[in-house]
């Protein structure tokens, strides 16, 4: 499939933005007193968020997991609101209730994030059911990791979605690790995509470090869902360049493996492609980088200058 220049540029941009966002958090989360809680980053996996979201329309819904920043930014979340939530500030997208782990941005159709591994899958089924029920021209995308495919919720969700031919695209980000476990230490199934067979849906393997490939596969799965063809399981092969979280010393991840995957960096790869094919100039690429840096710096400034919520705000927002 021919991917338009415009789409390619859009994907490059959201990837650059995501990476700058993560890079700043690498430092900030280690700075005493700035950001509470765990810090789970998507460094290296940007092509999945950007490729998938570039294929979606605004009305399409995403349901995501603990490693969500690149999904949300690619779907169009406001970096300031996200950063302020990561800082647990009152101005954050969830008023400090969520913090970095459960960012909910319903205004861009990213209504909930589950940090319970496998939690996003059954919810996506329900969200897609509502789209089918209301005959909407929209689909739901569910992001999850390879580890989540070992949870019962994965299997129940895929079976039901297939049975009812729901408009959902299951996007597995196989980043080689689930916590400290390598993929082949947690399952004997060679590829997650293979599991689709058990539930009567197509399973496709995608180069998860190449945004245009992810984009093309998503477009196809989305169209199939809209046409009433039911769900697709997409497995994006990628790599978790950093630890599970930022306090993880990565002692179980071979150094040369990390190095090899750094060489497959999805951002420099697409950037190089676009420069070499003349879609953008080297100067334009530089400009994108510095613009993203500025946006992230502004988001950090906004977050840092924002107040914390008042203690008693804790009691708000429980019931509708």
């Amino acid at each position: 499939m021919e991917v338009s220049e415009k789409k390619k540029k859009e994907m490059l941009w959201t990837m650059i933005l995501s990476r700058k966002f993560s890079d700043s958090l690498v430092v900030l989360c280690k700075t005493e007193g700035k950001i509470p809680g765990m810090m789970i980053l998507s460094t290296g996996q940007e092509a999945v968020g950007s490729g998938v979201c570039a294929a979606l329309e605004f009305d399409d819904v995403i349901i995501t997991n603990h490693r969500s920043h690149h999904h949300l930014l690619a779907k169009g979340a406001d970096p300031e609101k996200i950063m302020a939530e990561i800082y647990c500030k009152q101005t954050g997208c969830n008023k400090g209730k969520s913090g970095t782990l459960h960012l909910a941005v319903p205004e861009i159709n990213a209504p909930c994030t589950s940090t319970v591994v496998g939690g996003s899958l059954p919810i996506a089924v329900g969200r897609a059911f509502a789209q089918q029920y209301r005959k909407e021209t929209a689909v739901t995308v569910c992001f999850f990791g390879d580890g989540a495919a070992d949870e019962g919720s994965f299997h129940e969700a895929l079976n039901l979605a297939s049975l009812w031919q729901l408009p959902v695209v299951f996007v597995c980000e196989n980043n080689v690790y689930a916590g400290a476990q390598r993929y082949d230490a947690h399952t004997r199934v060679k590829d997650v995509a293979e599991r689709a067979k058990s539930y009567g849906m197509p399973g496709v393997i995608v180069d998860g470090n190449h945004a245009p490939a992810v984009y093309a596969a998503t477009l196809k799965a989305r169209q199939r869902a809209l046409d009433g063809g039911g769900p697709t399981l997409m497995e994006c092969k990628t790599y978790r360049l950093r630890g599970h979280g930022e306090s993880d010393p990565q002692h179980y991840q071979p150094k040369d493996e990390i190095k090899a995957w750094q060489g497959k960096n999805p951002i420099s790869r697409l950037g190089k492609e676009l420069v070499e094919s003349g879609v953008i100039t080297a100067a334009e690429l530089q400009e994108m980088e510095s613009k993203a840096k500025d946006i992230v710096a502004e988001a950090v400034r906004f977050a840092e200058e924002s107040p914390f919520p008042e203690a008693r705000d804790a009691l708000e927002d429980l019931y509708a």
Binding site: P36, G37, M38, C88, K89, K95, G96, K97, S98, G99, T100, L101, H102, S114, T115, V116, V117, G118, G119, G147, A148, D150, E151, G152, S153, A178, G179, A180, Q181, A185, H186, T187, G243, H244, G245, S247, D248, P249, H251, Y252, F308, P309, E310, A311, R312, D313, A314, L315, L318
Partner: protein, 325 residues
């Protein structure tokens, strides 16, 4: 005496029991090779010491981990499984609540299920409510389970060893805040019986019944109240079920005043059970209405000022004490 965090005390208990009884094995997510490389965590170094036959790293599959324990326990092994954070107990709960707790009864007393479910728990890490949710009252509501919640490292060691040797399913909940507090732990092989509370501080004016991470809060408040000549007796429950009613009632008889303190949320919390026991069996001792000091009825929020508001502190306890003194 050696000084250990609660996780290290758990580690010592696991080592001693695994040496003593070849039927003991552990299983869970990252119990062998984990994302932490830190000796304060409970399973640190066990893979090296006991090998992969007895230290089983599992996929992210809580239902299967819990079922593994149930099946293996019936065969006479003594599994100790780990649930990484208390909220993920819900994924394991079918096997624990509908099976571990009931199958012995269903067998007419013929089968038994000697297993331990270790659960890491507690607020205070800014991780938010899908990682911090104290569900001990849920477990305590299931006849057939024993629920243990140590507040000190020494208790953790002795209680875990008893739990492993117990022929029933035991839910053993560890407050992660206590992993980082070094406390004295006897070096020898000792057991602390399940179902026995301990008076952690004697007093004559007021009883505080508490457990787990809240013991520290109770001790600090008692220290402050003591400066005003108010002497607080602190009952550390250690085991929620079976409940040591005798120790609670004896203390209330002595002081005539009761506050129950727990981090878990209020409505349906285990404090209500203690209140009911005292109303039924110790009403005549009470000189004032009893009080509960608990987390408010909300999920644990991530933001530091909100999370601080959630977790009961000394001031909350002292205020409740003043209301009934």
């Amino acid at each position: 005496m050696q000084k250990l965090g609660l996780g290290q005390a758990v580690n010592q208990a696991l080592r001693e029991e695994m040496h003593r009884d070849p039927n003991v094995f552990i299983a869970g997510e990252g119990v062998g090779v984990g994302i932490h490389d830190n000796p304060v965590f409970p399973t640190f170094g066990l893979l090296e010491a006991f090998g992969p036959e007895r230290v089983k790293d599992t996929p992210v599959s809580e239902a299967a981990i819990a079922g593994l324990a149930v099946g293996a326990a019936e065969a006479g092994l003594r599994p100790v499984i780990e649930i990484m954070f208390n909220p993920f107990f819900t994924l394991a709960s079918d096997m624990i609540v509908n099976h571990a707790a009931k199958l012995r009864y269903l067998s007419g007393g013929k089968s038994s299920f000697p297993l331990v479910v270790r659960i890491k728990s507690g607020a205070g890490f800014g991780a938010g409510c899908q990682h911090s949710h104290n569900l001990e009252a849920w477990a305590a509501h299931c006849p057939g389970l024993k629920v243990v919640m140590p507040a000190t490292s020494a208790d953790a060691k002795g209680l875990l060893k008893s739990a492993i040797r117990d022929d029933n399913p035991v839910i053993f909940i560890e407050h992660m805040g206590l992993y980082f507090a070094e406390m004295p732990v006897p070096e020898d092989d000792y057991l602390i019986p399940l179902g026995k509370a301990e008076i952690k501080r004697p007093g004559k004016d007021l009883t505080v019944v508490t457990w787990s991470g809240m013991l520290g809060v109770a001790m600090k408040a008692a220290e402050k109240l003591s400066q005003e000549n108010i002497e607080t007796e602190i009952v550390d429950l250690r085991t929620l079920t079976p409940l040591d009613k005798d120790t609670i009632l004896a203390s209330v008889k002595k002081t005539g005043r009761l506050i129950v303190l727990h981090e878990a949320t209020r409505t349906g919390g285990f404090g209500g059970e203690i209140a009911a026991v005292v109303m039924e069996q110790g009403f005549k001792y009470l000189k004032a209405p009893l009080r509960r000091v608990t987390g408010p009825d909300i999920p644990v929020p991530a933001s530091p000022p909100l999370e601080k508001f959630f977790i009961p502190d000394e001031d909350n306890l002292i205020q409740a004490a003043r209301e009934i003194l």
